[in-house]
Symmetry: C2
Subunit: 426 residues, 2 copies
C-alpha cells in the first residue's frame, strides 16, 4: 500500500491535540508554574500514567518497563513482527520548556492513532516509548531510559545518589521498581527494526532558513576542556607593550583563531569559549593568568578530532611566541552519532513532500537516539522552535509546524514500518 | 665652579647610609612586619621627625609645613636666593616596598650633606621636601602633600573621610595641624626655580636594558574606561558559527586590535585590558555579554587621545560587523605631564657621565612631580628596581645603583642650583 498522509484538517486536529497534551503534561511538575519533572519522581509516574492512557486510546498495548519507560505497542500485520520504535523522553531539566522530549512522544501517538482510526496495520509493528530519563537532571547521569532498552545500563548507575543522597536503586524502590530487574528492560536486537525520533531543533537554523522541518544528519560529538594561559602580571602603566607577558592578550589571540579555524575544518563544526576568568582582574594590572573553557562539537569524529588538535596546537604556538604557558585538560568527551543514511533519505523525502524542500542539519544537543544508535539504526526529524530557545519556559513551537511534522512523520513511519526502507544494522 | 661628583668611595658610603635609612623608615609602620604608613598617622609624624633630624644633620634648617610635609633648606650663596626643590614622598601604600618615595628624599639629603661637608654653597638654595601624601592610601585622594605646596589644594579635600569616617581636617587636628592654615603651605612661584625628583622606576625597562639610571621624558597621562559588548547568548551546540552574536568573540577581536594599535600610534603608548567578565559564563553557552576595562596611557596628550579614539572606533566597527553592541564609558582621566626639556638634558648628561650612556623613558606611574609641574619646571631621574616590582614588600634596589644615582643626582643639582640650567616656567 502506498504511503498516504494525514489530510490538512486531520493534521491540524492532531496538532491541536498535541499542543493541548504538551500543556497538560507541563502541569505535571514538582514546582507549580515552572516545569520540572525528574526521573522516578511522583510526577514522572503521573506523566507515565497519562501518556499510557493516550497510547491505549490510540489502540496500543501499554506497559511500564523495569527502568520506568512508558511503552506502547501497535501490532503489525503479523503477530510478533519486528517493531519500528518511535519515541523521545518525558523527563525535563529544571524550569524547562514543554516541548523538549514530549513533542516526540505525543506526535508518535497521533501517528498510531491515525492508523488505528483507519484500522490499518503495517507489515511491522509500531512501538512508542516515553523515555524515563534523558536529561540526567536528578542523578547527573544521562540517557538512563534508553540505556535500559539497549541493555547497556552500567551496573554502577544503580548506586548513583541524587542531591538528597537517595540512590537510583532506592528511588526505584520508592517508585515501585526493582533495581535487580533493570536487565528486563533490555530488548532483543531482532525485535526492533529501527528508531525514529521527532524533536524540537533547540537551535536557530530552521527558523533562520524559513523552514518548519529538517532532517538530522548526526548528533554532534563533543569535547569539553579547561584551558589556560599563564603569563606575568604587571603594572599597566610601567610595563611597555613589548615587554609584556599578558595572559589575556594571548587568550584573545587564541579565541580569534578558534573562531576562524572551526568552520575551516568542516561544515557544522562549532567551537565555543563560554567561560573566562581573568586574574588578578584589576583595571591597572596586566593579566597574569587566564582560565577559560573550550567546547568543541561536530557531527563527524575525524574532523572534530582534527579541529581540536588544531586548536591545541595553535594555543601552544601562540603561548610560545609570547613567552607564556598554555595548558588544556579535556574533562568530557562524547563521540558523534551518525543517523542512518537510509532513514535520513526517507525522512528527507517525506519532509520535501510536505514543505516543498528538505534541509539537512546536525543536532547540536544530545538525544535518546545516541544510546539507541548503539543497537539499532536511528533517524531524527527536527521541528523549528522559536528563536532556537530551549531548556527555558520560553520554549515554543507553532501548531502549524506540528501539523506539518505529523504529516511528514506519518509518511516516514508508513515507509519504514511498511518494509520499504531498511536501516543498516548498528 | 665646575660640577664635581662624589668619589666612588663617598658615593658607596652615601648609598649604604641611604639603604640603612630606608630600612629604618620601613620600621615606622602601623603594622609590624608589613610597611604601611599613611597620611597624618602617628607613623607619618615619627617618619617626619626622623627625616627632619637627618636634614638637620646635613646642615639644613628644618620645618614641618601646614599640610604635614617635612621640609629642609640649605641656603645658597645669598640669603633668600630662589631654591632648587628636591624631594619625593614619605607615605606608602598598604604592605608597601621601602624605596618607593623614600629613596628620593634620602638621596637628596646625601647630596646636601656632601655639599655641607665641603662647606660649599651654590648660587641657589637647595630645599628638600618629604611629601606627606602622594599615594592617597588613607583618604582615596592623591598628591595632598604636593598640592599643599602649589596652593592648589581643593577646599573640598578637608572634608574627605577615611575608612573610619575621620575627615582630613579632623585627622589634621589629631596630628597637631590646622585645616584652616592649609594655605600657608603654598610657596611663591618666584621662590622656587625647579623641582627634581629621584624615584625607582616601578617598571622593567631599565633592568631589561642593563642600566641603573634613566631620564624621565614625561609622566604618562591616563584614561580608564568601562567597556562592553552585548550580543546574544545561545546553546554552544545548536547555534552554527555563522549564526552567532558571541560577545566574547567580539571582545577577543577587539583585544587583539588594542594590542596591535597601541604601539602604532606612538612609542611609549600602552593599552591594557586588565579585567574581563563574561556572562552567563558556562562552558556550553555562547557568551551574551562581556564587560571589560580599558586602561590607556602615554607621555603625550595628542597621541594618547588619538589612540583612544582609534580603539573606540575599532570596537564600534567590530561590533557592527558582528551584529553586537559596543559601549565604553570613561571614568578616569589624567593628562600627561611632560618633564622640562632643559632639566631632561641636564639629567641625561649627568646619567651618561656616570654610567656611560643615558636612556630616556616615560613614567607609567604617577608622582608628586605631576602636581609640582603645574607651577614649576620638573625633572625626574629613575633608578632601576628588581623585576620592575613595586607596591609590594619584594620591591628592591641595589646599593651600587643607588651610589650611581647619588653621583648623577649631585651633578644635576650642582648644575641647576649653580644657575647653569634654567627650566621653562610652568
Amino acid at each position: 500500500m502506498a504511503a498516504v498522509s494525514f489530510s490538512a484538517d486531520e493534521a491540524a486536529a492532531a496538532a491541536a491535540r498535541v499542543m493541548a497534551r504538551c500543556d497538560a503534561l507541563a502541569e505535571i511538575s514538582e514546582t507549580p508554574g515552572a516545569l520540572t519533572r525528574v526521573y522516578l519522581s511522583p510526577e514522572h509516574l503521573r506523566a507515565n500514567q497519562r501518556v499510557g492512557e493516550w497510547m491505549q486510546a490510540a489502540g496500543m498495548r501499554v506497559w511500564q518497563d523495569s527502568v520506568g519507560n512508558i511503552c506502547g505497542r501497535y501490532e503489525g500485520l503479523t503477530v510478533d513482527a519486528p517493531a519500528l520504535l518511535l519515541g523521545s523522553h518525558l523527563d525535563t531539566v529544571r524550569n524547562a520548556g514543554r516541548y523538549d522530549g514530549m513533542l516526540g512522544v505525543l506526535t508518535a501517538i497521533e501517528t498510531v492513532a491515525w492508523l488505528h482510526r483507519q484500522q490499518r496495520r503495517l507489515p511491522q509493528a509500531i512501538e512508542i516509548v516515553g523515555f524515563a530519563d534523558e536529561e540526567g537532571t536528578r542523578f547527573g547521569i544521562t540517557l538512563l531510559g534508553s540505556r535500559g532498552l539497549t541493555g547497556r545500563w552500567p551496573a554502577a548507575w544503580s548506586t548513583q545518589p541524587d542531591g538528597n543522597r537517595i540512590t537510583v536503586a532506592e528511588a526505584m524502590a520508592d517508585a515501585g521498581l526493582d533495581a535487580a530487574r533493570i536487565g528486563e528492560a533490555a530488548r532483543e536486537v531482532s525485535h526492533i527494526s529501527a528508531y525514529l525520533e521527532l524533536h524540537i531543533e533547540q537551535g536557530p537554523v530552521l527558523e533562520q532558513s524559513g523552514l518548519a522541518l529538517g532532517v538530522v544528519t548526526a548528533i554532534n560529538g563533543a569535547r569539553r576542556l579547561n584551558c589556560g594561559f599563564v603569563g606575568h602580571a604587571g603594572h599597566a602603566g610601567t610595563v611597555p607593550m613589548s615587554h609584556r607577558q599578558d595572559a589575556l592578550a594571548a587568550a584573545a589571540e587564541w579565541m580569534v583563531a578558534i573562531e576562524q579555524l572551526a568552520p575551516r575544518r568542516g561544515r557544522d563544526l562549532v567551537a565555543t569559549v563560554g567561560a573566562l576568568q581573568c586574574l588578578p582582574g584589576a583595571v591597572n594590572v596586566i593579566p597574569g593568568e587566564v582560565n577559560l573553557t573550550l567546547d568543541v562539537r561536530g557531527p563527524e569524529e575525524a574532523p572534530l578530532a582534527a579541529l581540536l588538535a588544531d586548536l591545541l596546537r595553535t594555543g601552544e604556538t601562540i603561548a610560545q611566541r609570547r613567552g607564556v604557558r598554555f595548558h588544556a585538560e579535556e574533562y568530557y568527551a562524547i563521540p558523534a552519532t551518525p543517523c542512518d543514511p537510509a532513514l535520513q533519505a526517507a525522512i528527507s523525502t517525506a519532509v520535501a513532500q510536505v514543505q516543498g524542500r528538505s534541509l539537512a542539519l546536525p543536532s547540536g544537543a544530545g538525544h535518546d537516539a545516541i544510546a539507541i544508535a548503539e543497537r539499532w539504526p536511528v533517524g531524527m526529524l527536527f521541528v523549528r522552535c522559536r528563536g532556537g530557545v530551549s531548556h527555558h519556559p520560553a520554549e515554543a513551537v507553532q501548531a502549524e509546524d506540528v501539523a506539518l511534522a505529523i504529516q511528514a512523520y506519518s509518511l516516514v513511519v508508513q515507509r519504514v514500518a511498511g518494509g520499504h526502507v531498511s536501516g543498516e544494522a548498528a
